[in-house]
Symmetry: C2
């Protein structure tokens, strides 16, 4: 059986927008592993119940089932040591974890406000009640209130990217001279936004913009070819 | 000539509080290199003019002069490859740079508000005009206005430490199983605060607190033994 990845999809099954699934798809590409993606919707919890949890990405590789993007990256690097390393060793893996935490707790939550109304418009109709209820609970307000006047929040969001910007002014990729998992972590967030929303998160003269362009070109345009808003 | 480090001092020459100098002192300890620190004040620009810039730390090692904490760490790891590595290889060094950028642009600027009035009270009298003028220009307001009602800013500051907290919930040190330069980068900020101010930045039940305690014990209490507020 081929390697499979449960991948969040919109109403259009070709729309794949989860930032965490993008991390996993780039990690698989980096390792040179072919994968068959399985479109999955938020409310299809039963479809992935075998994984012991309710979220994607879930990777099936032979006999192994691995949920969680960080665990998938670690699994791939450990299980395929002869292929290009995603981290570059144990020390780099440990150092990359902070970046993963930053992307999970600062970058992606920062992006959501700008793309929220677009997400709601593009998810499968059967997911809408779940999405609205769960997100309104998380944000403590209606989707519409949370997404309102997003332009006003843009300067603070761009300011929150300062550590990313200064790093990319010092080296071409977050992982150094060549892209690796550190880059896929952060790119996942921007690719999520790009797939689901036409909103311009990054100014064209921002060093992050040029890095994102290079990332879109990686792996023969894996990111650029994806269905986007 | 012994290895020397120009180290920011207060009115009391034993008070050494620069977060960037603390990074360098921990890096030297990690490499097992003895160092003679030279107390230096903000306005003694002439004393370090030979380094080609106006800030500390400045390391003198044999014929070499190295300013800037990041450059010092890279220099030490390259010049002393047979001693314990500060990064754990090129990939880890590249991955650690994001953490360095975060500490420089989020952590340390976040701390300053809470310790600013204490800094002003403890620097050398000859530094006060320079310090007031340069910082008031940076903050766009008086020192007193910037430091006012610091308790109100504490929840947002602690929230800004989320990536640090979640990383330290997943692994004992930022560098992994054992402390290394990733830890010294961040510890420098907390040690700066500890030396200059009695203000409680971190709650005792925060995982960051326990990590900071372990860091204070490292290298036979290098951080804990330092003159503190």
């Amino acid at each position: 059986m081929p390697t499979r990845l449960y991948d969040l999809a919109g109403a259009d099954p070709n729309l794949r927008f989860s930032p965490y699934c993008w991390r996993a798809k780039f990690a698989l590409a980096h390792k040179g592993l072919a994968v068959e993606t399985v479109p999955w919707r938020f409310t299809e919890k039963n479809e992935i119940a075998f994984s012991g949890q309710e979220r994607v990405p879930v990777l099936i590789d032979g006999e192994k089932t691995i949920p969680d993007s960080w665990a998938i990256a670690c699994y791939l690097d450990d299980a395929y040591p002869d292929r290009p390393s995603l981290f570059g060793g144990a020390a780099a893996r440990a150092a990359t974890r902070f970046l993963n935490s930053w992307a999970d707790t600062v970058l992606n939550p920062g992006i959501v406000r700008f793309v929220l109304s677009d997400i709601f418009g593009k998810i499968h109709p059967k997911d809408r009640d779940y999405f609205r209820t769960s997100r309104e609970q998380r944000f403590g307000m209606t989707l519409e209130a949370y997404a309102a006047e997003r332009e006003q929040h843009l300067p603070a969001f761009r300011q929150s990217l300062t550590p990313l910007r200064t790093t990319l002014m010092a080296q071409p990729y977050l992982a150094g001279e060549r892209p690796a998992y550190a880059d896929y972590i952060v790119f996942g967030g921007f690719q999520w936004a790009r797939c689901i929303s036409p909103f311009a998160l990054i100014a064209p003269d921002d060093p992050i913009f040029a890095w994102r362009e290079r990332m879109l070109d990686a792996f023969e345009g894996l990111g650029r070819k994806a269905m986007a808003a």
